[in-house]
Every structure is written in structure tokens, then in C-alpha cells.
């Protein structure tokens, strides 16, 4: 029974003898094997750690277990929230939108506005035109967004709803009361059964950039567009802007959700910050566009490079080398020498790397996440002399595996470094048991791997539900690389203490100074 002066929640409550009795007693009615035959559980558990299991596990062709990817409309919602006063609108079932909102909200600890037009069974039969007409009108009337960015759920995609025709029809029927002719309603088809959340990002970004710039082509301005990609580190967006600003150049960040998902306390405004719509309309007239995430923007950048003929291209400013390349690209595009401020920042990062290298050098890492994140993070591990033993990308697009392999091949340890494209985290479990590493780098889904295999987890990635505020930091630029260095090094040191804290057994190595 609870004691009023020391009320405990479930963490300690169920350890008490009266609850242990309850749980033991319950077993007589259970069919789970632990209740029936714990030895058999131990036997199968041991088998799941074996090479035999690994081979069977890696041979899976159909079932995905513990994925490390999500579906297209999630990425589309992120894009929309990066534009001024824009409501993400998902054409389809509202259950999906409840999921997108929960998912982002659990990660950012911030509200995530997004509407759906709540298609149900009749819409599945007759199409979702009626829902779209009403939904756009209601959304415009109630939330008064400056723009509505429409994407789709798989339901709408399977029945083949035509977004462009529906939006035109909605405006026509409304007759300008809520949806005037010029009201921007860009759209993108985002079928969940193609690609992943980064594909949805690409499609929505392409939709907004291509549709808002229609008829806007004018004289080219000396200005750089920056497309961040599916960036879940708010601080990264700010770091990138700081770097670009250091060059004194005019720029537009297309899809800047840094204020939307980092609102100060005091009052609630549904929309904050974001790319100005006028800037978005004019982005076609910039002289260059740099995408920070190649694999999350391939379609968009194809348009920008082939049709808009912008200079720029890709540059992934994660890690020292990635940031150097980004800085040099800016220097080249602006014709400006690298500013002193950045030179100093770089120097400080390198100084820090040289201070901490003994703790990362030669350490084996398993890492998973989105393809572009991995390019940057693995590059940084290599820069520190670490060994990325298992690099796993569930949503690896074409070409990624080869690019990652080539990177790993630059390491002296290359023969023990593995790339795992289109594998999931249950595969990772087998890899960790059979070819163990010192540390894992990944999102919250690594938590069960940490519990099962005992491998310490360094929380870097998306989503992170069970550690606070990491998303507020940067992992991009020199300051972002310093954050990566700090998080990783200190986790190594934490683990060193953990491993040596045995009193009178190992604590000779429990050094005060490291």
C-alpha cells in the first residue's frame, strides 16, 4: 500500500511484495512461455543471439520488424510547417493526421498543427472531392492560414483522387468567399507505399517550389536558396543560417520550421516563423540553390538544376569535412573569402577534436538513421578515427549504399566496416549480438537494442521521444560538430566510469582526470 509521505508510481510500486505476488499469481492463467516454461524462453533467447539466427533473420524477404523509417505524408507535413502561416492539409483519413501530429509532438515537445479532410467509407467509394471542397473551406475559415499545403494518405492514393482538379473545383464552388482564386494551395501526391518520409519531403517541397513560382520567372538575383531537407535538429537550421549570413549574402531558406517547432512560452500562436511566401514565390530568381540533403531532395533538385539552371547543388554540412565543403561552396558562389569568424570556429572545433580523439579513436559504432544524416555522421566518426562497424539505413535510396561504402573504404579498418541498406532494427539486433560494437548512435528505437544487447546508446537522430531537448541543438556546421563530439565523447567517458566503478575491484581505473 502507498505511504502518503512517499508515494511512488509504477516504477517502484510494482516492485513491492504484494504486487510481486499479484504478478506471480497471474502466471497460472497465462499462455506466454515465460509463465509456462522459462527455460524454453532462455533457450530461444540464446538462439536469437546466434549466427544461425542472424542468417535466418537477414534472409527475411517479407516481414519488417522494428523499422527505422516512416511514410511519405510525415515528410510533407514537415515541409508545410516550414512556410509562413501554412497549414499542412492531408487529403485522406484523419487517423493518419492524428499519428503525424503525435509523432512530431512527442519528438519536439511542441504543438504540430495539421488538418485532414476526414475521408471515410463513402469517400472510398465515390472519391474525396466532397471532403476536399468542405475541408479546404473549413480550414481556411477557422485557422486562416496564408497557405494550405495539401498532401495525401495512401487511401486517397489507392482510389486515385486528382488533387489538382479537386483544388480547382473547391475554389470554383467556394466562389472566392474563403478560397479566393489567388489563395495558394500547393499540393503533392505522397503515397505511403512508395519510398519513405524523406520521399514525401521531396514531393511536397517540389510541389510548393514549383507551384508557387509559376509565372514568377524574372531577372536573376544574386541570392542563394537553401533547402535543409528532413532536418529534425532545430539548432542545425540556425547554424546553417549563421554560416550563410557570415558571408553577407542574400539568401532564402526554403522550409524553415525552426520557429514553428521551438516556440517560446507565454502565449500560443498556431503559426510561427517560416519562409516568407513572397520569398518562396521569388526563389526561382535566385542564382543558386544548395540542398543540404541529397537523398531527401533529389526530385526537387532535379527541377532546380535542370529547369531553373541554378548553380549550387548538394552540400551536407554535418561533421568537419561536410562543413568545410559547405563553407567553400558558399565562398565560391558568393566570390567571398571565408570569413574570419568561421575560420576561428573551425579552429576551435579542430582543437576540441584533438583534445578528445583518444576516446573515440578505434571505438566501434553501430549507427542508423536517414541516408543524409548517415553520410554526415559517419563522415564525422571517420574524421575522429572511430570505426562505424554497422551503418544501417532502412530507407536507403538508390546510390546511397555505394556512396556509404566508398566513404567507409577510406578507413584503415574498412574490412570490418559494413553497410546495411534496406535493413531494419531487428536485423540490427542480430548484428549487434554477432559482431558487437562499443556504442550505438541512433533514435529512441535503439532503446530496446540497448536493453537486449547491453550496447550503450547515444541519442542522435529522429525520433527521440525519451530524452529531452536534444532536438534544440545543432548537429550541423562547426558548432554542430562540436555538439556531436561532446555527446559522443562524454558518453564514452560515462561508460568508462560505469565499467570501472567496482569498489576495490576495478576502481583503480576510475580516474578523476581523463
Amino acid at each position: 500500500m502507498q505511504e502518503v509521505e512517499k508515494i511512488v508510481n509504477g516504477k517502484d510500486l510494482f516492485k513491492r511484495p504484494e504486487y510481486q505476488d499479484v504478478l506471480a499469481n497471474k502466471k497460472q492463467f497465462e499462455s506466454s512461455m515465460l509463465a509456462i516454461n522459462p527455460a524454453r524462453v532462455a533457450e530461444v533467447q540464446a538462439w536469437t543471439e546466434s549466427w544461425d539466427y542472424r542468417e535466418k533473420n537477414l534472409a527475411r524477404e517479407a516481414i519488417t520488424v522494428n523499422p527505422a523509417k516512416a511514410c511519405q505524408p510525415l515528410g510533407a507535413v514537415m515541409v508545410a510547417l516550414g512556410f509562413e502561416g501554412t497549414m499542412p492539409y492531408v487529403h485522406g483519413s484523419h487517423g493518419c493526421v492524428a499519428y503525424f501530429r503525435s509523432y512530431f509532438t512527442r519528438h519536439f515537445k511542441e504543438p504540430t498543427p495539421c488538418v485532414s479532410d476526414s475521408m471515410t467509407e463513402d469517400a472510398a467509394v465515390f472519391g474525396g472531392l466532397v471532403n476536399m471542397k468542405e475541408g479546404l473551406k473549413n480550414c481556411a475559415a477557422v485557422y486562416k492560414p496564408k497557405m494550405i499545403a495539401v498532401s495525401t494518405t495512401c487511401m486517397a492514393e489507392v482510389i486515385g483522387d486528382d488533387l489538382m482538379a479537386f483544388i480547382i473545383a473547391a475554389k470554383e464552388e467556394d466562389g472566392g468567399q474563403y478560397l479566393p482564386e489567388e489563395y495558394p494551395i500547393p499540393f503533392a501526391h505522397t503515397p505511403s507505399f512508395v519510398g519513405s518520409h524523406i520521399t514525401g519531403y521531396d514531393n511536397m517541397m517540389h510541389g510548393i517550389m514549383s507551384q508557387l513560382t509559376e509565372g514568377q520567372k524574372g531577372e536573376t538575383k544574386k541570392r542563394i536558396n537553401i533547402i535543409p531537407g528532413f532536418e529534425t535538429y532545430i539548432g542545425s537550421l540556425r547554424s546553417v543560417k549563421t554560416i550563410v549570413e557570415a558571408f553577407g549574402t542574400d539568401y532564402i531558406m526554403l522550409g524553415d520550421h525552426s520557429d514553428q517547432w521551438d516556440m517560446p512560452a507565454g502565449q500560443y500562436e498556431m503559426f510561427q516563423g517560416g519562409t516568407k511566401l513572397d520569398d518562396a514565390r521569388d526563389c526561382i530568381n535566385s542564382s543558386a540553390t544548395i540542398s543540404l540533403q541529397k537523398y531527401a531532395t533529389s526530385k526537387t533538385m532535379k527541377m532546380v538544376e535542370k529547369r531553373w539552371k541554378h548553380a549550387g547543388g548538394f552540400s551536407n554540412p554535418v561533421g568537419l569535412k561536410g562543413t568545410d565543403e559547405f563553407v567553400m561552396k558558399l565562398s565560391e558562389l558568393t566570390g567571398t573569402e571565408v570569413p574570419q569568424k568561421l575560420k576561428v570556429e573551425r579552429g576551435r572545433l579542430v582543437d576540441a577534436m584533438q583534445d578528445s580523439y583518444p576516446y573515440m579513436h578505434g571505438k566501434k559504432f553501430a549507427i542508423w538513421g536517414d541516408p543524409d544524416f548517415l553520410i554526415g555522421a559517419v563522415s564525422f566518426l571517420l574524421e575522429m578515427g572511430a570505426e562505424p562497424t554497422h551503418v544501417l539505413c532502412h530507407n536507403a535510396p538508390k546510390g546511397w549504399e555505394e556512396e556509404m561504402r566508398a566513404m567507409l573504404d577510406t578507413s584503415p579498418a574498412k574490412d570490418s566496416l559494413n553497410v546495411w541498406a534496406e535493413k531494419d532494427l531487428w536485423h540490427m539486433r542480430s548484428l549487434l549480438y554477432t559482431e558487437p560494437v562499443d556504442f550505438m548512435i541512433g533514435n529512441s528505437y535503439g532503446k530496446e537494442l540497448m536493453r537486449d544487447t547491453g550496447t550503450p546508446l547515444i541519442y542522435i537522430g529522429f525520433p527521440i521521444f525519451d530524452r529531452h531537448h536534444l532536438h534544440r541543438y545543432s548537429i550541423s556546421g562547426y558548432d554542430g560538430a562540436l555538439n556531436l563530439l561532446t555527446w559522443i565523447t562524454n558518453k564514452v567517458l560515462d561508460q568508462l566510469d560505469e565499467d570501472t566503478k567496482g569498489i576495490a575491484t576495478t576502481d583503480y581505473f576510475f580516474d578523476l582526470i581523463r
Partner: protein, 488 residues
């Protein structure tokens, strides 16, 4: 706040809120908003609100879908079975381990609740059908997770649209591997909310657990006169465990928990119990009614939130049994009373008179009212994401004062209601949480217990009281205003 002024304020708020909508939407939403009066015989439902209707498009409803109701709520917590999210990758990922359905087991070996199994549909599965892939998924599961006691197939939207026959696949494979395989057609577009998913899932329990041969042996459990089942407790944060302990202390034998920490065997044992105890009426009344009709098992609703309701419920349950149980029931009540008195003595002075607005799912919009009132707090607004008329009828019995009732409230309405009625605490879900915290309002998630709990039973109430105090009396809310902004 006097009763008249509160009611007037509530009515005015509704009127004001409806003004923002276009005509058709206003007409619709008007029917879902009302002011409930306690035990008002003239009201057909609480506040006379309409419910379980299609959501107005484009308004940021908080509702989920049928898949969420089946996979997320009813089936997902059954721990020794593997639940395949059948279709594209997203649904299973967004719903993974989000509900805190606690269980004991070796995850990935003999239990699987927090994992995500997905058939990860690709374009070719949409075009050519996914039945073949499903069959292969089942084979691979059987190979790699041999201790599973069965599989459920939780359909996502495309399944019902592309003409797949998951029933046929399930039938063939069940025979092949000699295990229970349950095809569930809970596609997200079915119905208007999670609710239809609960119903569909209940029906599949009937068809595939009760009416079919299950692969677990139940013969070792000999029925007794004191057997009961807990129905509609998802063991969120351990709720069913802190409920179970009380039932056992009064001499009952809890044979099954549905479905938090449940196993297939417990479900299969349930048709032999003497009484079904139904906590979440909305999500599991269907199977309870079925067992009543088919096996003659009576069911009663109970409420283990807060001591007033818990005591009432314990006595109601005991009344079904002999004097020995009734006597022990009184002993249980007497045993916990001093602890409860101490909890109330400690927290009531800190919480008395504080007003609360709720918006949750199945049973909590009415069931938790008593727990707040036990602490001297006043619930002035409540509503459900996916309730039906019978829920709103039941709500009438549990409100204490004029209460604004909002069915399927959307983000705009809830925000407006809160601004107008200015409660001291808002208690709802994750999607709404930070909206109100930004405004400097104390907030508790009432789906997940905000990562605390359990809240059921006597031990749970102590945690509930502590958590509400934590939220309302935390110093952090006072920091929102900077010193240079303070008046005077």
C-alpha cells in the same frame, strides 16, 4: 463561480465558438456542443450532444481511426501474439509502443507488445495484391519468433480497397502452422473514429478466440465460483495490476485481463468466468454483451478512479457474490481508508476549488471526474473523441455541476473553450499538451498518464493526487511572464 454564471458562460462560449465556421460546418458542430446538467432528466444525452458522426473535414479533429482502435487499443496489448500492421510502413511506426500497455515478458522472444511488425507495402503490393506477401510474413514470423501463440493481421487502409482476401490467407496459414491467426478488417477509413475498430476487433475475438479452436491449452485451469475477468483495462502504466490486487484481496480470482498484459489463454478462459467486470465500456461492451448472450455471463461496469467511485464499485462487484466476498470487500475498503484519508488530507488543501477541463477517449471523460472531485477539484468541461449516445447518457450520472460538453472537439474549439472558461488544469492528450502549456496552463496527459501512473485503484489514486498537485503547484508556470512584464 456560481452555477448560473458558469452555465451562462458555457453557453456563451459555445455561441461564440460557432461563429468562426462556415454555415454548414457551424450547423454540424452546433449539435456536438452542449451544456450538461447533473441528472437532468430532460436531457437525452449529457448536454444533449450528438455523437459518433462523421468529423467535419478540415478542422483538426483529435480523432484516430479504426486501425488505431483495433491494433492500438484492443489487440495490440495481447502480449503473446504478434500483431502485423498490414499495409504501408507508417501506421505501425506511429503507433509503436505509444500507449504504455505494460506487460511482463521477454520482448522479442515470448512477448511482442512494444515491437512493430509491418508488411511494409510497396507499390507492387498495391497493384498486384499483398496476400502472397502476407503469407510469407506469417512464415517468417513463425520461423524467427517460434514462441508466438498466434498472429493477428491488422489491416491498414489499402487492404480493403485493393480487394485482398486476408481471411483466406489467415485460414490457410492457421491450418499450416496450427496456430490462431486472426484477420482484422480494421482499415482506417471504416467508421468515423477509433470506435468502429474496437467493435471490429471485438467481433474477431468472438470469431477467432471463442468460436474457433485455439492453440493454447486451457484445461489446467479449473473454474471456481469466484472467477472474474477484467474487461477493458489496457494496463496503461500498470492500471490493471493496481485494480487486480483489490479484486484478489476481496477473494475473487481474476482469470483474465483484457487486454493489457493479456495472453491468448486468458481470453480463451473468459467464457467460463462468473462475472465480467467492464471498465472501458466503449471499447469492449460488444464482447461483454456477446458473452452474456452466448454464455450467460453477466457483466457490470465499474470505475476504479478515485476512492468514492472505487468504493462504490467494489461494493457493487461484491454484491454479485456471497457474504464471504462482501465481508472481505468491507475489510479491503477499511484497510485502505486511512491511506486515502491521508492522501486527501495532504492534497485537497492544495487543489481545492481548482477547475479542470477534460478531453479524452473511451471512459475517462466521465470516469475520472469523481477522482478530481475527491480532491476538491471541479470539472467544468468534458468530452470524448469517439463516444456514442450511451456514453453521453452515462456521463450525466457522473458530472457534479454545469459542465460544457464537447463531442469530437477540434483544436480550435478546445483552445477557445479554455480561453473563455479559464480552467486551472487541462487534461487531454499529447497533441494538445503543448498548446496549453505554451499558454502557461498546467496540463496532464490523460491517455498515457503523462508517463506516470497507474491511476486505477487505491494505490493509483495516491499517484493521481500527487501528479495533479505536481502539475498545478509547480513553480514553472509562474515563469512565463518576465519580471519586466509584471504589473505594478
Amino acid at each position: 463561480m456560481g452555477p448560473e454564471s458558469l452555465e451562462a458562460k458555457q453557453k456563451a462560449a459555445i455561441e461564440e465558438i460557432l461563429k468562426a465556421y462556415p454555415e454548414k460546418a457551424a450547423k454540424n458542430r452546433e449539435k456536438h456542443l452542449g451544456v450538461g446538467s447533473p441528472n437532468d432528466e430532460n436531457q437525452k444525452t449529457c448536454g444533449d450532444v450528438r455523437s459518433n458522426k462523421k468529423t467535419v473535414p478540415g478542422v483538426m479533429s483529435q480523432r484516430g481511426c479504426a486501425y488505431a482502435g483495433s491494433k492500438g487499443v484492443v489487440w495490440g496489448p495481447v502480449k503473446d501474439m504478434i500483431h502485423i500492421s498490414h499495409g504501408p510502413i507508417g501506421c505501425g511506426q506511429y503507433s509503436r509502443a505509444g500507449r504504455r500497455n505494460y506487460y511482463i515478458g521477454v520482448t522479442g522472444v515470448d512477448t511482442f507488445v512494444t515491437m512493430n511488425f509491418s508488411s511494409d507495402f510497396q507499390e507492387n503490393n498495391i497493384v498486384f495484391g499483398g496476400d502472397k506477401k502476407l503469407g510469407k510474413c506469417i512464415d517468417e514470423i513463425e520461423l524467427l519468433f517460434p514462441l508466438n501463440n498466434g498472429i493477428t493481421v491488422q489491416s491498414e487502409c489499402p487492404i480493403g480497397l485493393i480487394g485482398d482476401d486476408i481471411g483466406a490467407v489467415a485460414k490457410t496459414k492457421a491450418k499450416e502452422i496450427d496456430k490462431t491467426i486472426v484477420p482484422v478488417n480494421c482499415e482506417g477509413f471504416r467508421g468515423v473514429s477509433q470506435s468502429l475498430g474496437h467493435h471490429i476487433a471485438n467481433d474477431t475475438v468472438r470469431d477467432y478466440v471463442f468460436d474457433a479452436k485455439v492453440n493454447v491449452d486451457t484445461s489446467d485451469v479449473i473454474a471456481t465460483e469466484y472467477d472474474v475477468a477484467i474487461i477493458g483495462d489496457y494496463n496503461i502504466g500498470g492500471d490493471a495490476w493496481s485494480s487486480r490486487i483489490l479484486l484478489e484481496e476481496m477473494g475473487l480470482r481474476v482469470v483474465a485481463q483484457w487486454s493489457g498484459d493479456a495472453t491468448l489463454k486468458e481470453m480463451a478462459l473468459t467464457p467460463k468466468v462468473k462475472l465480467n467486470l467492464l471498465h472501458c465500456y466503449r471499447s469492449m461492451n460488444y464482447i461483454s454483451r456477446h458473452m452474456e448472450k452466448e454464455y450467460g455471463i453477466p457483466w457490470i461496469e465499474y470505475n476504479f478512479f478515485g476512492p468514492s467511485q472505487t468504493i462504490k464499485s467494489l461494493r457493487k462487484i461484491a454484491a454479485f457474490f456471497d457474504e464471504s466476498v462482501q465481508k472481505k470487500c468491507e475489510e479491503v475498503i477499511a484497510k485502505y481508508q486511512p491511506m486515502i484519508d491521508a492522501v486527501i488530507a495532504k492534497y485537497k488543501p492544495r487543489l481545492e476549488g481548482k477547475t479542470v477541463m477534460l478531453f479524452v477517449g473511451g471512459l475517462r471523460p466521465r470516469h475520472v471526474i469523481g477522482a478530481y472531485e475527491d480532491l476538491g477539484m471541479e470539472v467544468i468541461g468534458t468530452g470524448y473523441e469517439f463516444a456514442h449516445d450511451d456514453d453521453y447518457k452515462r456521463t450525466k450520472e457522473e458530472i457534479f455541476r454545469s459542465t460544457v460538453i464537447y463531442d469530437d472537439v477540434n483544436e480550435y474549439e478546445l483552445e477557445a473553450f479554455v480561453k473563455k472558461l479559464q480552467p486551472d488544469l487541462v487534461a487531454s492528450g499529447i497533441k494538445e499538451k503543448y498548446v496549453f502549456q505554451k499558454m502557461g496552463l498546467p496540463y496532464r496527459q490523460m491517455h498515457s498518464w503523462d508517463y506516470s501512473g497507474p491511476y486505477h485503484g487505491y494505490d493509483g489514486f495516491a499517484i493521481f493526487a500527487q501528479d495533479m498537485d505536481l502539475a498545478i503547484n509547480s513553480p514553472v508556470w509562474a515563469h512565463s511572464k518576465a519580471p519586466w512584464e509584471q504589473e505594478g
